[in-house]
Amino acid sequence: MVLHKFGEKLYSGLVTTMTSHLKEISNSIEAAQGGLFLDELNRKWAEHNKALQMIRDILMYMDRTFIPNTHKTPVHELGLNLWRDVVIHFHAIQSRLQAILLENVRRERSGEVIDRGLMRSITKMLMDLGPSVYQDDFEKHFLEVSADFYRLESQEFIESCDCGEYLKKAERRLNEEIERVSHYLDTRSEVKITNVVETEMIESHMHRLVQMENSGLINMIVDEKFEDLGRMYCLFRQVSNGLVLIRDVMTSFIRDTGKQLITDPERLKDPVDFVQHLLDLKDKYDKIITSAFRNDKTFQNALNSSFEYFINLNSRSPEFISLFVDDKLRKGLRGVTEEDVELVLDKVMMLFRYLQEKDVFEKYYKQHLAKRLLSGKSVSDDAERSLIVKLKTECGYQFTSKLEGMFTDMKTSQDTMQGFHASHGSDIGDGPMLSVQVLTTGSWPTQPITTCNLPAEILGICEKFRNYYLGTHTGRRLSWQTNMGTADLKATFGKGQKHELNVSTYQMCVLMLFNDADRLSYKEIEQVTEIPTSDLKRCLQSLACVKGKNVLRKEPMSKDIADTDTFLFNDKYTSKFFKVKIGTVAAQRESEPENQETRQRVEEDRKPQIEAAIVRIMKARRVLDHNNIVAEVTKQLQSRFLPNPVVIKKRIESLIEREFLERDKGDRKLYRYLA
């Protein structure tokens, strides 16, 4: 027919025949009752497909020549279009099909089992008829109905469930939807339907969920519910601002609890315990972030900034951290493996990083280190050095050079003592053994030099050492720091029992007096030894008033030392131990006035550092305005401390006065460097 120019007739005949045939079909489908409707539709669709194939084969010639020339729809496509228009869009079928599909989904959601194979065939049909058919006739309504469904369901859940339970349910629903898509929907629907679930179940309720009483985010954190937290993270990550919300709530919680911890006067009584608490707190959050928040960088940063915030709220944090290290290096690390030592030190370094006043830490660290080294109390030389190396990597050479100097002094002193004993060993004989640590002024914390009169026996050997030392090191000056030393004394008591007393140099001076006398008044002791009053009182108190260590007796007996007291050798003294260590009553944690003093010293030390920074900057820039100087100085110094802008201004003014800088004649904000 095509060859005889009847192509047009053939084509229009095809259209009419197929249309009327499909009308019959649609009537028969419509007539199908209830559940059979989908089956009927599916069956007819399969038949139609088969028929269409055959028609296309028969009319192949027309399909190839006539249709492309006249720009008509090809046979197969025509068949599909007619099916769409006549069957699917037949009003009685269209709405019924839609309703049945949605009803099936609803039934499945509520737990019933449906024929997934049939569902897949039908949705496949809709997709074959073109993406717009699938979208308009099914997906659009599917999403709307789902949104309604989840809106209702989430409302119900949030009233009845706690946060953890709710999240579990939401997660299950989400997985169900994904599964549904994989079974019988277009894969492109997955994003759309999960979006609906996330919006309805998470986003609309996220504030309420996070703040839910007794089960919200804070409770999960407190109770360390990693699984729930992880679930919350995963679900919230999908909605906009979800993670921001979690992070903000967590941050303000850390800040609040941290602030409470750091300002709690009870906690501050024991610095070691206090720092341990900080470390535990950090551990806890680290664990939460690694195991529940997938090591999210933004969460780590939030954690770090929170710690930095509250640790610096207390100006004594640097001191306490150093005390913690001191405690660990004195006794805490005994019997601990090398790796564990490193672990503790690394954690301490992490806290150190949070400190703004690193110079204050350095000051205390130096003091504590000095005490450890001089009293030989440090557990491990390796651990000491390891921490110095860490500080060096963190803050650079100048931060640790003095600390390293202290170690060098200790080593040199050992060598010096060996040399001294080698050359003088013979003529010392039975006399007292002397051990001297020669400390470089400047490397060690400055000590007010308080001298006392040493017993003659000691004085002799001290002189020998002085001569020996100055003989090899000419031009140096030695001064004795008697307030820092210790002595071991052999003492024999009333019934002939012998003890070795480990005492301070001051205590030794006092006890030696009792070699020649049984009874001495306070005034006599003070006169002979010339030990500074407060030190002398402390030392007598520890010799006479501490039970079990009272090698002296005091008259009258009382807790405190008065100028009128008299002291006697206590020959009834007994102790189970051969070696008795008599400590001085000394405060570990700095007292308030001492703290003030250290503060002041720190402030003084900062002045030249700030001035040096200003001069460095101005030397490079020649001219700079005030705010920029302040900013640059702060930047240069922040690895050590946070300089106060007012102090910087003061230093600038001092430099102007000393003619390192001048103000610009015109623009008063500007400073000029005077070379």
Binding site: V646, E653, K669
Partner: protein, 194 residues
């Protein structure tokens, strides 16, 4: 010239060859002017006198020549004109800074004690910025951070008087690198006002 020199020698101390504080007092009483009068400081400025309380021959010549006078009475009549000259803004800054340096009597001295500063402020700026000077003096006397004032702070206060609306201080911007003493002064003023 000779008359100027003769006039100099009539006040000068024979042994030091300078007009000393005593000579200045005689000069002042001859001119019937109080020796604490600001115009005497202006005269010193005109002479570019270096040492407080002393005029050298060179300084004397420089001042009197510039004023075109050679007798005490002419000098006295020239004083009002001199004051006018000093009050001209271009000269006044110079005079203001000179008055500070003039009070530095010791070698290497760079600052002046609060007590003297208060008197000097009153003398030099009192007529022009009465309110500012009174408040500032009150502040200086009760504060304890500063025992002395240096040239930078001294010049800063003059700039403050000229630029800052007083007493509301509305255009005071602490970011503009004012000397700290003025920041503190402004803070004190604001606390007082509120």
């Amino acid at each position: 010239m000779e008359r100027i020199d003769n006039l100099f020698y009539s006040f000068a101390n024979r042994s030091s060859g300078m007009i000393d504080p005593e000579g200045i007092e005689t000069l002042c009483s001859d001119m019937e002017v109080d020796h604490t009068d600001v115009r005497i400081l202006m005269l010193a400025w005109k002479m570019k006198a270096e040492k407080q309380g002393y005029f050298t021959l060179e300084e004397w010549r420089r001042g009197l020549k510039a004023l075109r006078v050679d007798t005490v009475s002419k000098l006295r009549k020239a004083l009002p004109e001199l004051e006018k000259e000093v009050r001209r803004p271009s000269n006044f800054v110079d005079f203001y800074s000179y008055s500070f340096c003039y009070c530095l009597t010791e070698e290497k001295q760079k600052s002046i004690d609060i007590e003297s500063i208060c008197q000097l402020l009153d003398l030099v700026l009192g007529s022009q910025f009465r309110a500012q000077v009174d408040y500032f003096i009150e502040y200086l006397k009760i504060q304890s951070d500063y025992k002395v004032i240096n040239l930078d702070q001294w010049m800063g206060f003059f700039r403050f008087c000229n630029e800052i609306s007083f007493p509301d201080l509305s255009n005071y911007d602490p970011d503009l690198a004012w000397p700290l003493v003025l920041d503190n002064f402004v803070e004190w003023m604001q606390a007082k006002q509120s």
